[in-house]
Symmetry: C2
């Protein structure tokens, strides 16, 4: 039985290594470069071992990475709001959000862009996602039905993606944040 626990520990540890390897490779070279063969190589095993940990294959691995991303993003947004209120809060959360997306491109991509199962958001990630949403709503003091928060979220999401795609002028990033905050405080 003691060995069983050790085994479980090893399993858990290897699961971690798979996710870390996937995330590292994805951040470096994009998700296309994350292949099951490379992933298996990087943990010192062969392909089928991956499927013991993630029966759903590459898709499930990406899902697991994305899920961690939702947790981190919600925490990041909460921390950014801190004691700020009104315009300051919106600016802080916007900066934090854009920084997060910019500094973890592959993670953000897994969270929002990859064709993961559509029902994904409604299950595991739902609570994490809602937590992040609530952080946003608090930041702008949304006391309505959440419509304003949805629009703010969409704006930050769009800014993240267009910035990364190089379609917005990088030198105007701060201006955009200011502009955004001015239009969404209260």
């Amino acid at each position: 039985m003691a060995q069983t626990a050790a085994r479980r520990r090893r399993t858990e540890e290897r699961r971690r290594r798979i996710l870390d390897a996937a995330r590292a490779r994805a951040d470096a070279d994009g998700w296309d470069a994350v292949t099951t063969r490379h992933l298996a190589d990087s943990i010192g095993y062969t392909q089928p071992v991956l499927y013991g940990h993630f029966p759903g294959g590459k898709t499930e691995i990406m899902r697991a990475v994305a899920l961690e991303g939702f947790v981190e993003l919600a925490q990041t947004c909460r921390a950014a709001v801190g004691g700020n209120r009104g315009r300051r809060a919106v600016e802080a959360v916007a900066v934090a959000y854009l920084d997060f997306a910019a500094s973890h491109p592959a993670l953000y991509e897994a969270m929002f862009q990859l064709p993961l199962d559509a029902r994904f958001a409604q299950e595991d990630a739902e609570s994490e996602l809602r937590e992040g949403f609530a952080a946003l709503a608090d930041a702008i003091g949304d006391d309505g039905d959440g419509t304003v928060t949805e629009v703010l979220w969409a704006a930050m999401h769009g800014l993240s993606l267009l910035e990364r795609a190089g379609r917005l002028r990088a030198e105007h990033r701060d201006d955009r944040v200011v502009e955004l905050a001015a239009r969404y405080c209260r």
Copy 2:
């Protein structure tokens, strides 16, 4: 020489069929379902023929489709603005933009999400993209340096993507448009 013209016409026609087939298949089943083999089949030729028309392969085909999308989107936005001014103009353009993205998902994906060459936007599509951007700027009467227009564009872009991903409440779509227009008129 007359035959040469006929040949060119046939070439042009086949190029059209390739693009149409790609776009149709992509809209139906996503870009992953657009394979060079299926594409060749659907025009009645074999794979290498595609590379005679698009030496860059699948990527170049997607690029060509995306380019047409930029033209259509710019026209759509211009038409939507029409004689409207202020808040009405923003609402009209937002509705048109979101409708466009929703009704041509694969086209929109090719335009903004697929990992096409980064320098893509700076070349062919630049003028079309700028045209669409100008239409937006006009709609909101942006007389500044374009920062506001960038933020509005990002908001619409984000709304499009989050809506399609099923992460916004579909029944609140009109509310979001109203909210958006209220915050970006003037």
